[in-house]
Amino acid sequence: MKNRAYRIAVHIVPRAGLLDPQGNTITGALHSLGFKHVRSVHVGRHIVIETEAPDALQAEASVQQMCEKLLANPVTEDFEITSAVPL
């Protein structure tokens, strides 16, 4: 079976409940810039992967593995994978 290329985005976010200094710092900075209506900010990683696979499902499965093995730290992070988009 022939492979084709897919693009998949992954969001890796700090586990809820962990102190989020980055989010807090940005919230503070936004307030001081006049964005008073901001309630909260959370920052994670947005990783865009282009990979080849026989189909979208297998592309996603392989990205799931990448997250488990390398991209996310299971102690501190959660991840979510968006659907594969054919290129």
Binding site: L18, L19, P21, T25, L70, L71, N73, V75, T76
Partner: protein, 230 residues
């Protein structure tokens, strides 16, 4: 007794550890290249500081897959001592040699300065030469040194005496102000449950020569030497 200092591609404190062991302790040391799978019969493995793979993604995340890490894990499994400093600590956590994780400093900035540490457990193979409740002055230099773990892990670490070093002030009190990176419970260094893997963010290998400042890290290396001498 022989120290094996692992060189990952972006390690940069491997040299400091080597010089500390050889010049200041008069012990034997060798560099272990990360692509090899041979520990060359060393007694103590040092995972040194630095930026193993640029610390891209997360500090230590990529290095733990280096070929040599399998051997390091096996060595630790046999009860062999592993001293994991700074980036080494991050790698050890990523590799599951130690519980928890090291994330970005609470102040978000890289912090380079000399801090005070209290020796919380002088009964480990890394701290036997320190006095009880000793307060040490040792440099830190890191951007991702905030130790985090879940509540159960933290409780277990405390109960088992696995918290070996805590950030403190000059008088030995672990105040919030003395904590340079927001680590949970001011934790600066922990040992594994078996006591043979020490991970710490401060750099004892930079504190062995009084020309450069307090030599408070020297006893850590001497503790290891004393253990094998027994």
């Amino acid at each position: 007794m022989k120290f094996g200092i692992v060189t990952f591609p972006g390690s940069n404190c491997d040299y400091d550890a080597y010089r500390a062991v050889v010049d200041e302790l008069g012990a034997e040391a060798t560099y272990l290249w990360h692509k090899t799978e041979d520990l060359e019969g060393v007694d103590v493995v040092v995972l040194p500081g630095g930026f193993s793979y640029g610390d891209y993604l997360r500090a230590g995340a990529i290095a733990r897959f280096s070929p040599i890490m399998r051997e390091v894990v096996a060595h630790a499994g046999r009860g062999g001592p592993v001293l994991a400093i700074c980036n080494g600590f991050q790698i050890a956590c990523e590799a599951g040699l130690l519980p928890g994780a090291l994330v970005r400093n609470a102040g978000m900035r890289f912090v380079s300065e000399a801090v005070y540490l209290s020796v919380e457990n002088e009964g480990t193979m890394f701290t036997s030469q320190y006095e009880k409740d000793a307060v040490l002055r040792i440099p830190i230099a890191h951007g991702e040194g905030r130790y985090v773990a879940d509540a159960t892990t933290l409780a277990r670490l405390e109960d088992n005496g696995q918290v070996v070093f805590r950030y403190c002030d000059a008088g030995g009190s672990a105040t919030g102000e003395a904590n340079p990176n927001g680590s949970m419970r001011g934790i600066a260094g922990i040992v594994s449950a078996e006591g043979n893997v020490l991970g710490m963010m401060p750099h004892p290998e930079r504190a062995v020569d009084s020309l450069l400042g307090p030599a408070d890290g020297k006893l850590l290396f001497e503790s290891l030497l004393a253990r094998v001498a027994v």
